[in-house]
């Protein structure tokens, strides 16, 4: 790749810009509230783990993380398993209304969640799923399934169709071909699609908050608890924030080699 002048400076400055606010959050999470409010220091003078201890010992805090991870995992599994056959169909066949259907799916990825907040509340209350992880997982399918179909279609299209034909000639049934032949070939694509489903389900708050009240409350909603009559508990808020960054950082580590192509939605 051709390089540009001053690239080290540009990149370094940008990475610092990205890391500085995160560093500040981490810094604050190790401080006591008195230290946060009374002094301005670049690192904690007396580092404390109290903020983290509260989160890990208080069920109303850590259950938020469990709730969030539950609906994110359900959503990722649902989205991928529904999207795989559809992506194959869009990639290999032409059928009545295929282009319109693809566009309609895509348009759901673009629909503003604010539009759906209220009707979703009514819908999931009516079918008794309100305040369960399933409600949030199903609601997030609205934008994650189209995305998964889109990414997987890109990856499947880069597998030559001769492979399908050879497999069928060898007597593979369709399900067996899909699992034994195609899946290993697009494994990285499945990984990338799962990563994106995880990502968009993990970061979304508006729908997750609207569709839960107590039992399935996501961590993002729990975090608003730090505002109390006694003022903001900044240290606790920062610690809770740091802990929401960790799952994402872990997931990035696993897909780091495919990340660039994945962001191009499998179609560069």
């Amino acid at each position: 790749m051709q390089q540009i002048p001053g690239r080290h400076i540009i990149l370094t400055l940008f990475l610092i810009f990205l890391l500085l606010p995160i560093y500040w959050l981490i810094n604050m999470s190790f401080k006591t509230n008195t230290e946060i409010i009374s002094t301005m220091t670049l690192w904690p003078n007396r580092p404390t783990l109290d903020n983290y201890r509260i989160i890990f010992t208080d069920p109303s805090w850590y259950s938020g993380y469990i709730n969030s991870l539950t609906y994110v995992v359900i959503n990722t599994i649902l989205s991928i398993s529904f999207a795989l056959p559809a992506a194959y169909a869009f990639s290999r066949y032409r059928f009545l209304g295929d282009k319109h259907l693809f566009f309609w799916l895509l348009s759901n990825r673009m629909a503003p969640p604010a539009v759906f907040a209220l009707p979703f509340f009514n819908l999931y209350s009516a079918i008794n799923l309100f305040d369960t992880p399933w409600a949030v997982a199903l609601a997030h399918c609205l934008f994650n399934i189209p995305l998964a179909v889109w990414i997987l279609e890109g990856f499947i299209s880069s597998v030559p169709r001769e492979i399908d034909e050879t497999a069928f000639l060898d007597g593979y049934s369709f399900p067996r071909f899909f699992l034994k032949v195609l899946m290993p070939l697009i494994a990285s694509g499945v990984g990338v699609a799962a990563f994106f489903c995880f990502m968009f389900s993990w970061v979304e708050l508006l729908l997750a908050r609207t569709l839960t009240s107590v039992n399935a409350k996501p961590i993002a909603a729990t975090m608003t608890r730090t505002v109390s009559a006694a003022g903001m508990d900044w240290g606790l808020l920062a610690a809770a924030g740091v802990l929401t960054i960790l799952p994402g950082a872990l997931v990035i580590w696993f897909v780091r080699n495919y990340i660039a192509r994945g962001f191009a939605l499998g179609r560069v």
Binding site: L18, F95, L105, P112, L118, L123
Partner: protein, 300 residues
């Protein structure tokens, strides 16, 4: 690759169709239903026809005034973040290291902001910008700038734009990086032999190769900034005054705050239509660029 016509492929698409239809069509019909009715509480609804739509599209009414004010604000915001993020993203992508562990390190750091829950992004910047406890606010005030995003609309705007640049420039950079990676080394060698300048290499080789991914980046960023809710809501709550009340914030205020179902529903429909039109333009352009470039790039 020539696709085979096979109507049985519908069977493979059916599960997705049913699931997405369940989450998209039923709620949308509810919204349409609300948008033509009025209620005086007690779950009693009255037919109101297109009354709400008339109000909404007439800037002189209270509803229309609010709608257009937040629409312009939102368009201005989208334009501002696109104008910064697209060039900056290209620049960062061009600055990426060639190979080795540094590439992985850069990719991971770049992707980090994208995986932070949106309310936490808001929280990070809310803290970072505060003049009493935040590094940014404190430093700016130290230099004598009277920066306060809670009271001053301009500061609120700058904070939210900086936050969005921080949050999403990585997406543009990663997309462009993926586009750049697909350029064969031979192109550069040929350019070198021809004595092409760096600028010529950029405009003649790199930019055309990035066209497709830039299009994805442009439209994803437009859509997502057009429906932004959580981050500004956490940082400013739509204020000071109404200065950072974007479309989604206005809509949630109407629907879940005031429970003005009819007005909110009419606004939802118009909002959704705008998105749908932009999305259609996006899709048409995308598929055309696709057929143009596919044979030449050959897969990956």
């Amino acid at each position: 690759m020539e696709k085979i016509v096979n109507q049985k492929a519908w069977l493979l698409v059916l599960p997705v169709f049913v699931l997405v239809a369940f989450s998209a069509i039923i709620p949308l019909m509810t919204v349409v239903n609300y948008s033509v009715q009025d209620t005086f509480g007690n779950n009693q609804f009255f037919w109101n026809g297109v009354g709400w739509y008339k109000d909404l599209l007439d800037p002189s009414t209270e509803l229309g005034g609010r709608f257009f004010a937040s629409l312009w604000r939102n368009l201005l915001f989208s334009a501002a973040v696109l104008a910064i993020e697209i060039p900056l993203g290209i620049l960062v992508a061009l600055s990426m290291p060639r190979e080795g562990w540094r590439v992985a390190a850069c990719l991971i750091i770049l992707a980090l902001p994208l995986l932070i829950p949106w309310n936490v992004v808001g929280t990070i910047w809310q803290i970072f910008g505060r003049s009493d406890i935040g590094l940014l606010g404190y430093t700016l005030n130290l230099f004598g700038l009277n920066y306060n995003y809670v009271a001053n609309p301009l500061d609120a705007w700058l904070t939210i734009i900086a936050m969005d640049v921080w949050h999403w420039t990585s997406l543009v950079a990663l997309l462009c990086y993926a586009g750049l990676k697909s350029i064969p080394e031979a192109y550069y060698q040929a350019a070198h032999i021809d004595g092409a300048s760096r600028w010529a290499v950029f405009t003649a080789i790199q930019l055309p190769k990035m066209k497709r991914v830039l299009l994805i980046a442009f439209l994803l960023r437009f859509m997502d900034s057009f429906m932004i809710y959580t981050e500004p809501f956490v940082v400013t709550g739509g204020g000071p005054g109404n200065s950072t009340t974007f479309l989604s914030i206005e809509l949630v205020k109407l629907a879940l705050g005031q429970f003005d179902l009819g007005k909110a529903a009419a606004m939802s429909i118009v909002y959704n239509l705008i998105v749908l039109i932009v999305c259609w333009v996006f899709y048409t352009v995308m598929t055309n660029v696709g057929t143009e470039r596919r044979p030449e790039t050959g897969g990956v």
